[in-house]
């Protein structure tokens, strides 16, 4: 899956879980500082990522994912 497709899919998840406008879900955005996504919502996002992309995010990795770009990178690197 291309980075563009991953970004689009991630934006859909962010809209569903946290009400983030898709156009705002750009790589440089911080989940907590820019998009107001809290730690419990990050857990929901990780579950949705696993469903959508088949990529599980272990808890110790989830803590390192600070921006939308971090998430796209993780998914791109780990997709099957």
């Amino acid at each position: 899956m291309s980075r563009e497709d991953i970004q689009t899919g991630l934006a859909e998840i962010l809209e569903e879980v946290a009400g983030v406008t898709p156009a705002d879900a750009t790589p440089e955005k911080s989940f907590t500082d820019d998009l107001d996504v809290d730690s419990l919502s990050m857990v929901e996002i990780a579950t949705a990522v696993e469903d959508k992309f088949g990529v599980a995010i272990p808890d110790d990795q989830l803590a390192n994912i600070k921006t939308v770009g971090d998430a796209i990178n993780f998914i791109e690197k780990n997709q099957g």
Binding site: V17, A18, G19, L40, S41, V43, E44, T47
Partner: protein, 413 residues
Amino acid sequence: MSTSATDVVVTGLGATTPLGGDVDTTWEALLAGKSGVSRITDDWIKEYPAQLVARLASDPAEQIDRVRARRLDRSQQVAVIAAEEAWRDAGGADAGVDPLRIAVVFGTGIGGALTLLGQDDVLEEKGPKRVSPFTIPMLMPNGPAAAVGLAIGAKGGVHAPVSACASGAEAIRWGLDLLRFDRADIVLVGGTEACVHPLPMAGFAAMRAMSTRNDEPERASRPFDKARDGFVLGEGAAALVLERGDAARARGAKVHARLAGAGGTSDGYDLVAPHPEGEGAARAIGAALRDAGLTPADIGHVNAHATSTPVGDTAEAAAIRSSLGEHVMVSATKSQTGHLLGAAGALESVFTVLALREQIVPATANLDDPDDDAAVQALDIVRNEARRATFNAAVNDSFGFGGHNIALVFTTA
């Protein structure tokens, strides 16, 4: 009329109920004699002896945005809806009160039952990793109070009394105490419940507590009537804003009524059955009167707890008669709203405040043939249609499984 040292007033009202999505539509429907009760038609209900419910008139999804709603249990959604209406009504956001001096007391009887049971289904079907990270905050019984506190920015304490069907009234009593002890300048109080689900329905049915008049939903909740056979489970929330009278007047707030006093007792008799003479209930009413500095002759109206169960209504009638006498105009509004459990005391306090403000006593629906019980016969239970009357003080009483008794005294503004 209150002689208590601290004058506490009601400056905001909110509700979402089986009769309407806000206070005005609920009150209008109540006075018009409308019923919020209907028969459940889902497949699961077929094996149930009691199939009636009083659902919300307005879907919370229409009043609260989707992303906010998905992390709130239904009981929390309706709590926030009612609380925000009350806060708007009071002008709370513009009152200039320090957030450190804003408190919340919001009760529930059951808590986040729909979340608990729904997530148990997820656990069974999909395993532990699929259980929502919001499960605990959505099911905890202090969740509604916490959600309301967040919604209005309260930093002066958020409290959650849990005393079954007295929870909403107990929250109001705690709010009064917070103001009297000067622990807050403005307190948002209320109660909430939303537990229409097969398990609670089965549990209440197993207690033989619910009406089985399935073919006549609107006639099923009939407090004090000879043919009453149990309560009808309702859902909803109600909220009031309380503050000290001097502060309310200083900021030019409109005052709906005064909260003049409160009393609370426990039966010490049985876990769920009321004392047959309503001994604990009568003591609560007596305590509330003394707290308000009033005598029985001052009280014109009682909004009764009266759930339409055979034993509960006669015990309460005895308590009202022994503590207040036979002159009071009694209303049993659960005849139209159903029984909102932890929200009941808050909703009925909203009704009591409106009755005082508008000088009109709501009718008790379905009271075709009053019980032969001596106290029921002796009381002036308003029926057929709402009654215009002149009165300056009214009582709302609430009782809960566990032997909890709360009585609140309101007076005109």
